[in-house]
């Protein structure tokens, strides 16, 4: 069964134009100008139950707008959405009973009082039975190790502690779909790992469908079986992480540290006919580029037999680079020529919002 079904979904906003300078501002006071912006452009995708799907894209790509439509906050301009069998923006109050939402940058907890009080209140809001609530809370508190935090006010919690509490708050009513908007933003590695482990376990044990947006591709690598990549309101990739890697990866590189000085000709001669490319780093170090479809061991066996080697390093193109590359090329065609390590704009802007 499908958890989320989206067809030709579109969202347009009217954005006020601000004219420049004092004169412009005065003009704006009397007559405003607007421009129409299409944040999401006719996208379609389906997410089956029990999947963890990563929803990625640069700032302003339309991620948050999509999440807001899927959670019933925004009404789409056109297109079809079905989440959990409901049209989110229609029976909002019934629909949200079955979903959990965490906005990484906003709290849903009472700032000044013990966390447990917020949980109790949410129990009432979601009409969770007292017994179910207790069982569920105990389970969550145990897995997230919140025991001694429950009576502390939110303002006295660290960001990591708070985020764990936010997760509990979103899960108390046992939703079958969990939406996470930047769940690991601003957290340290230890907390990030904890949260990832928790989400995996939640998915495994309860079959919860999870859709998360993130700027941290390690979240995706650790969690997601599926990635949807958005650029300027369009889906530019939808598929497994593995496929993403194999389709866009530019192969691997192996760096050899030799015991004696070597020449490029000698190395090229060794691997003649294999379609690999050698580059020399210095007298005793050289790198070989191996295309994706070839086995690294085939190349290694030829070199290891002929030369004396003191060290070998294998470089796999990582997801960060792949994703950066896709954005750079617009995603439609892949360019094999592209070099690593070029000055590209960094993806993750930890403090900027969508």
């Amino acid at each position: 069964m499908l958890a989320i079904e989206v067809e030709r979904l579109r969202k347009q906003f009217k954005v006020q134009k601000n004219r420049e300078g004092l004169k412009g501002a005065l003009l704006d006071l009397f007559k405003r100008e607007y421009t129409e912006v299409t944040a999401v452009k006719d996208i379609s995708f389906r997410i089956p139950q029990g999947e963890i799907c990563g929803y990625i894209g640069e700032n302003g790509a339309g991620k948050s707008t999509t999440i807001k439509m899927l959670t019933g906050i925004l009404v789409p301009t056109s297109g079809k959405i079905l989440v959990n069998g409901y049209v989110p923006y229609k029976d909002r109050e019934t629909f949200v009973q079955g979903i959990g939402v965490v906005f990484g940058q906003r709290s849903q907890l009472w700032w000044d009082i013990g966390v447990i009080e917020s949980f109790r209140l949410l129990r009432k809001v979601y009409r969770v039975d007292e017994r179910d609530f207790k069982r569920r809370l105990d389970e969550l508190v145990e897995t997230l190790q919140l025991g001694d935090l429950l009576n502390r006010p939110v303002r006295k919690l660290s960001l990591g502690q708070r985020m764990r509490c936010e997760l509990v708050a979103a899960l108390l009513h046992n939703p079958s779909i969990l939406f996470l908007d930047e769940p690991t933003i601003g957290l340290d590695i230890v907390v990030k790992t904890e949260i990832r482990e928790f989400l995996k376990r939640l998915n495994r044990e309860h079959g919860t469908t999870i859709l998360l947006t993130t700027h941290d591709l390690q979240d995706i690598e650790a969690l997601c079986s599926r990635v949807i990549m958005l650029d300027d309101g369009n889906i530019i990739y939808d598929g497994s992480l593995e496929e993403l890697k194999s389709r866009w990866s530019k192969g691997r590189e192996v760096q050899f540290q030799f015991s004696d000085p070597v020449s490029l000709q000698a190395l090229s001669a060794l691997t003649a006919g294999q379609g690999v490319r050698w580059t020399k780093e210095n007298e005793m170090t050289a790198k070989v580029w191996i295309p994706r479809e070839m086995n690294v061991s085939d190349v290694l066996s030829r070199v290891v037999g002929a030369m004396e080697i003191s060290d070998i390093k294998i470089f796999e193109t990582n997801t960060d680079e792949i994703v950066r590359e896709i954005y750079r090329t617009g995603g439609s065609e892949k360019t094999a020529e592209a070099e690593n390590g070029e000055a590209l704009p960094a993806m993750a802007g930890a403090d900027s919002r969508d």
């Binding site: 969202k11 906003f13 009217k14 006020q16 807001k68 959670t71 019933g72 906050i73 925004l74 009404v75 789409p76 301009t77 923006y89 909002r92 109050e93 019934t94 949200v96 009973q97 979903i99 939402v101 906005f103 906003r106 849903q108 009472w110 000044d112 009082i113 013990g114 009080e117 917020s118 109790r120 209140l121 009432k124 809001v125 979601y126 009409r127 006010p153």
Partner: protein, 264 residues
């Protein structure tokens, strides 16, 4: 069913309110005192003015004070349940409205419940006291139906206030900039507490039909003041209450629809 659910939520939110306030105990009292000072300031105004004149229109000091006492009752109740001064800043600019919309309860009831402010009710009690004192001073008779009429009038006045301020808060849904209208409105509400005939036609019309603050003061209170008895205007209070509450609700719902981008 739905009302029962909202009422049960009210209890929970109230409990959280009390727990919050317990952590800021000193502040709680400052708030109560400042509420009372606000009323005291208006009374001071009345007393100072009547030092220089025997009557306002043809209303005596005790009568004006009586109206003020009446006003404090619905105002206190309104303040306890509709505390939307920060709405634009907190829910629209900081985006908490999104969270509200992901919860299975009505958006308006959630926003109102999250901001309950019970100490405001102390003002109502003080108002009742002031009204009582003025009642005795004026030597007004107390009929058996007076308390019942008072309840109906107060309910109507509270609804008018709720309707106006909910509609004003909902303006934030339409305007993309934070609005400072609500604090400005604060001054206008004062004028409904003075004898309406002192104003010119324009302001009288405004206070009666457009921003009907006169129904949260002089019209309903006059029911009890024999000298200024005006049955029609007094009994319009609950009617206006129903109309303005409906308007407030409609503006809110339309605003939420617009916020979510459904038509405009």
């Amino acid at each position: 069913m739905k009302i029962g659910y909202t009422l049960s939520l009210f209890r929970e939110y109230l409990a959280n309110y009390i727990k919050t306030k317990m952590t800021y105990r000193a502040d709680f009292w400052v708030e109560v005192v400042s509420d009372l000072m606000f009323s005291a300031m208006n009374l001071v105004f009345i007393f100072v003015v009547f030092q220089h004149t025997p009557s306002l229109g043809d209303w005596s000091q005790a009568e004006v004070v009586f109206v003020y006492g009446y006003f404090m009752i619905p105002y206190g109740i309104f303040g306890a349940f509709v505390n939307l001064w920060n709405f634009s800043e907190r829910y629209i600019v900081k985006g908490e409205m999104d969270r509200v919309l992901t919860r299975p309860a009505g958006s308006l009831s959630q926003v109102l419940l999250e901001n309950v402010d019970p100490p405001s009710l102390i003002g109502s009690l003080v108002g009742l006291g002031i009204m009582g004192a003025a009642w005795a001073r004026l030597g007004l008779p107390l009929d058996w139906y007076d308390p019942l009429v008072l309840i109906v009038m107060v309910a109507g006045s509270v609804l008018i206030y709720m309707g106006i301020y909910i509609a004003l808060a909902a303006i934030s849904f339409y305007s993309d900039a934070p609005t400072g209208i609500v604090p400005l409105m604060f001054n206008i509400q004062n004028y409904g507490r003075y004898p309406i005939q002192i104003y010119n036609k324009g302001i009288r019309f405004l206070l009666t039909w457009v921003l009907p603050f006169a129904f949260v003061g002089v019209y309903p209170a006059a029911f009890f003041l024999e000298r200024h008895h005006h049955l029609l205007m007094a009994w319009l209070t609950p009617v206006m209450g129903a109309i303005f509450a409906a308007i407030g609700l409609a503006v809110w719902n339309h605003g939420v629809k617009r916020y979510r981008g459904a038509g405009s």
